[in-house]
Point group: C6
Chain length 256, copies 6
């Protein structure tokens, strides 16, 4: 149930990765007996390189499938309704690598910096899956772990590295420069007082709670869309951007 | 007195383990003078590989035997009464490896994720043995140590890794990613404030206390079954799933 | 002034230790000009292997001898009066290895697990020597150090490993699994909050204080026996189980 | 969006750096077909060596460009209005190395020591860019990270190394001498009490907050100049000292 | 101004040390042209091996000499008046090794254990020098450093290793077994709560304060003796046990 | 602006240093065309070896020169007025090594120990430069850093190593023996409770504050002398002991 931005992933591509990507695409093209690579070959190759091969043979219980469908629908609908989030490109509940499903968004442009608004909405996008589980299935799962880690990391960086908390001010508490020597947990060793440590915890928590409420508001307002997206995924396993947007159109017409 | 899920154990099987398993089964089959492996050969072989060989020669005091019988009966009855726990497959008080006895449950399906409800009930299953000692023997023993460790680990992960505590919210406090460099105790070094550390302790404690009460409620309500299961174990040492379920039937009829 | 359970020590015996033991016994037997090993040879050999050779040449001041006699009498009388403690086998104030004296108890059976009651009484047995110094000599000494360490270790394990404190619940705070990498003090690094750390300290202290009072109650009630045992030790240096029990018989008659 | 003092950078120049600088200048001169190095060759060479080559090919979104323009305008205007800050030499929003833009100031003299007043104003200069983002664009970005780190470092040094806080007195809490062995986060390990740690945090915060208000006061008073500088940068990408000063002249005349 | 017990020092003697000692004695004997070693040769040789050679050439200011004289007089008089302290053997203010002077006491017997009373008085003996500086010279010096370290170590061990504090009880907080791996400061890393850490500090302090008062009481009562001992040392530099005891006799007669 | 005691520096001289010193002196003597070394050759050679060669070519701003002049005047006048401080030998504002200026004092005798009074006054001598900056120039600078470090080190040692604080008593909290393994910051890791850590901070602070007030009292009372010394230094760069003492004479006469 991890969340991928294709651009984010490709940004870190090395020459070897790109060669790998093209070979994969060429192979898919050759298997299909087509003379030239088309966009579908490249797309599938990219997914394979980024998230690992599809695991079609893995037996999935109906409960797990339902959980994944609502989880991904949650991510996708939150993405759609947040102004700065990159548009949804594809949603899938076919397992790939270690993930049960995936919502892929495509950034429309290169960004050098991220604003406070963008980071705040990115946290909400991360929590969309978990909140959907809670609202639509009445139980939550361990599947949201990597989403929650990413959300925590962003919130922590906003507060301790980017001076984006009014409460803490523009102090940089965590330079993130010590990761080399003794691993991450050492790097986070507090060089500040218990009082400030408590304020950091409160601010990180506040950012995550606010994002949680954003998700609740969106997913409650979009209840019908979430249901439809989840049902579609349970039937077809994959959903493209166009189909996804159709549900919002229908929803709008119904709402009128 | 450890608790095994066969599927959990076999999940981590390597090719070498499987070869080992089949050789053990073939050996047992050959010793019995049978031409083909039967299910009993495979079962005994699996137990041997997972939990070590039976230690029939070990002299056990009557007190220790009684303790083990009630402890395992406690695990088994709690498992039976919790909706999401995997059904009991076998209960034994023949020592194997380092354990005095064992309750084996068989998952009915593969699970990729575990829900909050499942994890909550898993903690109760772990505590079932200890609570039975307390209620039926009036003393508690060091034999529950690995059960308590597992219960603590699950509760700790729910609170600090899976964002399943309302009090702490969706913050990931322990990524579990630092185990490589300096061993476990380093990895748990707190990167958060005393206040949050206190909340974690309270929430972990609350989960364990709730599970303790669940066990008490079940074992008090099922007092007659526990007594019968323990007596049966003291007489026959091993109990299969069918016999185990019979006691519940009888109990139901009595209750009517 | 260390306290030995023979069975505890022999439990960890390797093949090499046993060979060593038999050679020692054979040597003692040969020196005595006897054709066959008798129980006394085996006993002396075992003591030599476990606690080191007797140091008959060491000059001991009368004060140290008196201290040791009352200290060992304290251990022995507390052992006698606690239901779950293993019976006293021998008491000696001949120095051996690093210890000034020794009280040896013999378990009547193999135990796989220890109950809360057994561990609670074991702490009291450890403190018996120190409390005797206090009550009978009016001063305390550094000789109790290893007794106090053992008592603290048991109490600490009850609270942090075996979930035997009502106040702390069934949480496992110290898994004891980190000893390999950075030695003991690292392993005990707190992965929990100050509040829980304080509760651990209070519970460990409470267990030790309760054991102290148990010792005081026993030793005050058995004042006459302690005096006689100590006097006997000062005269004969070694006391066997039978002689030890005689004093209690006399005491009982007197009391009647 | 980093802030450079040319002298500061050149101060650390080795012979090899200088050779590198001259070769770069010679190359630029040769490419331009000129017989002798002129000041422009040296300037461009110096910029290249200090901040890396210009990245003219990098595609920048209009939003990022606008952000950079106001950020740099903020730095420059704050520098202009603070008595002890070195005068602005050049402002550019052409990306170089890892920075989106740069404000270069030229110290008028060598300084061996820095006074409390100078350090206090230097913190304000660092925060000028971030405060401009907030006041003129209504959102803040991650681009200020290195500015905030530098501001925090100066404030921290004033309080813990240079005894410049009335609240903490002339105690040196951080000698900065431990950086060699275990990296920075280790060096900052507190050798003082929680109370003093809290006072350090409060004083560092107070210095940063005061600098923030200084920036707000200056940038609000100089609103028209900031707007003009930013617009000019969006049009021409580079601004020299003379042009920069002209805007203040106009502003003054308008204000009269 | 360190304090030596000859027996303590010789206890740790290796064969090589003893050889060294005898060679020194033989050399002194040969230099004196005597055919056989006498007690004086052995004594001087022992002093040389334990505390380093006399530094007769070192120029000492009258102030330092006076300080040392009163400091050593303080140690010696406190030793004399405490029942369990080993009798004074020699007092000297000739510098040896790193020490400006020395008070040597000779234990009358081997001790395996030390009682609480003995340790309590040993702390007072350590502080005798410092308290004499305070009472007789009105200023205190850095010369007491090793005395204070030894006093702190004894008090710390009484509280944390030997269970000799009523306030802390019989808990062993510091096993002293971790010194091997990471040096002393690591070994003292607290494995207990802040509350207990605070109690340890209070108890260590209380033991030192009590010892301080013991010294004050003795040295005020023995004012005349201290003055005479110090004056004698300033004149003769060395004082033997007999001379030392004479001053007490005189004092007694005066007091009568 | 560092403070040197010549004797302190020469105490650590190795044979190689002395050879170096004599060679320097010989060179200076030869350059001057004199046949024999005179005291001036030795003095200059000693300064060069201790503090590095004069940096006459370094361009110094008038502000920096003024700062240095008042800073050194502050040190010198405080030294003059404190009874236990070693007399001023020379004051210079010619940069040497890393220091902008220097006040050299010459101890009149060898000292083995330092008294509480001496250490207390030594702290005041360290702070004299900083306080002069504050009183006479109205701003403070980073130039006092090494003075403040030395003052903090002395105060910390008085409180934690030499038992010279009434509040903390004679406990040795910092033995200073751990510096070898993990560098200084590790060595200062607190082996005591937060409460004691807070008391240490308060006492260190109190010693520094008291020294600050001592400096203020002296420098305000000697305002005229400080001004004259600073003016003289600005004119002549170097001042010897005689000239320095003259200003006090004049001042006295004026005061009469």
């Amino acid at each position: 149930m991890s969340l991928h931005k294709v651009a984010q992933a490709t940004a870190g591509f090395t020459g070897a990765d790109l060669e790998n990507l093209l070979n994969e695409a060429a192979l898919l093209c050759a298997r299909a007996g087509r003379p030239f690579l088309n966009q579908s070959d490249l797309h599938e190759a990219m997914m394979k390189v980024i998230a690992g091969p599809e695991k079609k043979s893995r037996v999935i219980t109906p409960e797990a499938k339902k959980l994944t469908a609502y989880h991904e629908a949650g991510h996708a609908v939150v993405i759609h309704d947040l102004p700065t989030a990159d548009p949804v490109h594809q949603i899938t509940i076919i397992p790939r690598g270690g993930a049960g499903g995936m919502t892929i968004s495509l950034p429309t442009e290169d960004r050098d910096y991220e604003s406070k608004t963008e980071l705040t909405e990115e946290i909400a996008v991360c929590l969309g899956g978990r909140v959907a589980e809670e609202l639509f299935l009445g139980d939550i799962s361990t599947g949201a772990r990597s989403d929650l880690e990413r959300a925590t990391d962003i919130a922590h960086a906003m507060v301790t590295r980017y001076g984006m908390s009014k409460k803490l001010g523009e102090v940089v508490l965590d330079t993130g420069r010590d990761e080399v020597f003794l691993g991450r947990s050492m790097a986070r060793t507090k060089p500040y007082s218990e009082e400030v440590a408590g304020q950091v915890d409160q601010e990180v928590r506040a950012l995550l709670d606010a994002a949680h409420h954003t998700c609740e508001d969106i997913l409650k307002a979009r209840k019908a869309v979430v249901e439809k997206v989840a049902q579609y995924l349970l039937e077809h396993e994959v959903m493209d951007a166009e189909t996804f947007l159709t549900f919002f159109e229908e929803n709008k017409q119904t709402a009128e």
